[in-house]
């Protein structure tokens, strides 16, 4: 029990973190364009960086010039290597994430609707989710080898846990008076679920999905760093092995941009799907 509460609590804390970039990020973005102050730090960093590499304060193997990174990035785009690796990474995330979400939502709904199912599954589920995703990686590599299935399973697992926890939490926190109204209208059980419980749960599920996607992307990069021969993570490792830090930096930039786009894309989808809803406190009644 305490463990479930703990899991909720972590999820809630994560929600707070997750809802932050959405709000403050958009805010900062506007501010960035409006006043330009936000460009000062990056511009100074860039200036210092190019100055340092021009005057060879540091060896170019350790810090390549910004121009070199930019050239490499363009070159990778032109040769198509970048898109190839990006496509492979994206495909892995989509398959794993879809798999994880499906299982996560089913698990969360089953545990949320039936105390009995929760009694059977939640101790095992909690025990499994206590081990960090990366903790499973060596075991998964032994059992599954280092093929595609390894990536799918790790990514699915990374997204499954937050999705299941948030779905469960969402179902459990459907306001009691909604259910009472439905009962007063003599809704059948399936009506109750379709018209009341699921619509009220969607925001919580989306919190889980967004967090799950972030986790999925993080795990993908790690798996690719450790065991892969293609993909963005592999590009980074490859660049490191060849001591081509320009390639490493270019790949890191792409990893960041893709992470950002995935998160913002899901946020936009969420907004669109929840248009019917009055303004709702997504973070679940946070401060």
């Amino acid at each position: 029990m305490a463990q479930v509460d703990l899991a909720y609590k972590i999820a809630a804390a994560d929600d707070a973190v997750e809802s932050a970039p959405g709000r403050s990020g958009a805010y900062d973005y506007r501010r960035l364009l409006g006043r330009g102050v936000g460009w000062i730090v990056p511009a100074l960093t860039l200036a210092l960086w190019s100055f340092a590499s021009r005057h060879e304060w540091v060896a170019s193997q350790i810090l390549p010039a910004p121009g070199a990174v930019w050239q490499t990035l363009l070159e990778q785009i032109r040769s198509g290597d970048l898109f190839l690796n990006f496509g492979i990474s994206l495909g892995r995330v989509l398959v794993g994430f879809t798999l994880g979400c499906l299982i996560g939502v089913v698990l969360g709904v089953a545990m949320g609707l039936s105390r009995r199912v929760e009694d059977y599954l939640s101790p095992t589920f909690n025990a499994i989710s206590q081990v960090p995703v990366l903790g499973w990686l060596p075991l998964a590599m032994m059992v599954l080898g280092i093929g595609e299935s390894l990536k799918f399973v790790i990514i699915a697992h990374a997204s499954l846990v937050p999705v299941a926890i948030n779905t469960l939490k969402g179902i459990r926190s459907v306001p009691r008076n909604y259910i009472e109204v439905a009962k007063a209208f003599q809704f059948s059980r399936s009506q109750l679920l379709r018209r009341v419980v699921f619509p009220a749960t969607v925001p919580a599920i989306f919190v889980g999905l967004r967090y799950g996607l972030t986790q999925a992307w993080l795990s993908l990069v790690t798996v690719e760093l450790l065991a892969s021969s293609e993909g963005l993570g592999f590009m980074i490792v490859w660049g490191r092995q060849l001591f081509q830090l320009d390639l490493v930096l270019a790949a890191i930039i792409v990893v960041g941009v893709v992470g950002l786009l995935l998160d913002r894309g899901l946020a936009r989808l969420e907004k669109r799907l929840l248009r019917w809803q009055p303004v709702w406190d997504m973070a679940g009644g946070g401060s």
Binding site: I10, G38, L134, P138, M142, V221, T222, L260
Partner: protein, 260 residues
């Protein structure tokens, strides 16, 4: 003893035990009748035996200790830096405007992607690992400290102003207490991320004693028992750090009126 016996009869516990027991039986059956590659899949009894041996040898403790030391050093470093930047951005608008966008951009990069770069700049030894763990712990602390301070209600600050509190007084008596829950959430999250980072750092940087290393070694020598032991320890440490953080949070925030 009697309490344990009583709880065994509770349906919740009995139900909770069904799935793990089934899994255990299936595992034993599979290994016993060699339904799968036995070289890979050690039987539960073999794993248990290996646990006992490893614990007795005491080498395990040094591995665990090494991981924990790394984890905590990284966490402290990252949390300290995170608190500094997060509160600076929360208190001074100009700091927020200067660093906010850069921080947001940097945060988008999946943190493990920095490891190869860190390995060039800091080597692959202990310092590189600690720097990486600190980075993993840094982000959630900044976000939560910033949000907590920004989220302080305007009315409270106005009351403080009406009482002619100095800036320092306002911060100490109004802003900090109101922001503390969020700051603790950030630290709690940071503890979780730091542990994740510790495992990742041990996988990806130079081998040195530690739980992550135990697992990687076990995988390479196809010693399933070692890997499982590592999984168990990773889970236990994660769980204990969680529980510890929750305790500390409850203790330090005990003055709060619960309104949830």
């Amino acid at each position: 003893m009697s309490a344990a016996a009583a709880s065994l009869t509770s349906p919740r516990l009995r139900r909770g035990l069904v799935v793990p027991l089934l899994a255990l039986v299936a595992w034993q059956v599979i290994t016993h009748y060699k339904l799968a590659n036995v070289h890979l899949l050690a039987s539960p009894s073999a794993v248990l035996k290996s646990f006992v041996v490893q614990v007795k040898e005491g080498e395990l403790f040094s591995q665990l200790l090494a991981s924990l030391r790394r984890d905590l050093s990284g966490f402290l470093l990252g949390a300290f830096a995170g608190l500094l930047l997060g509160s600076a951005m929360g208190v001074w608008r100009i700091a927020d405007r200067l660093f906010g966008p850069s921080f947001d951009a940097a945060k988008q990069v999946a943190v493990f992607a920095w490891i190869p770069l860190i390995s060039v700049w800091f080597g692959t030894g202990e310092s590189a690992k600690i720097v990486f763990i600190a980075l993993a712990a840094f982000y959630p602390v900044v976000v939560n400290a910033y949000q907590g301070i920004r989220g302080v209600s305007r009315e409270h600050v106005e009351v403080a102003r009406a009482f002619r509190f100095s800036r320092l007084q306002t911060f100490k008596k109004v802003v900090l207490p109101a922001a503390l829950p969020s700051i603790f959430s950030g630290l709690h999250l940071a503890l979780i991320y730091a542990w994740l980072g510790t495992l990742g750092a041990e996988y990806l940087l130079a081998p040195a004693p530690g739980i992550g290393n135990l697992m990687i070694d076990g995988r390479e020598s196809l010693a399933m028992d070692k890997v499982l032991l590592g999984v168990l320890l990773a889970g236990l440490v994660g769980f204990s750090l969680n529980a510890l953080a929750a305790r500390a949070e409850a203790y330090f925030l005990r003055w709060r009126v619960r309104n949830a």
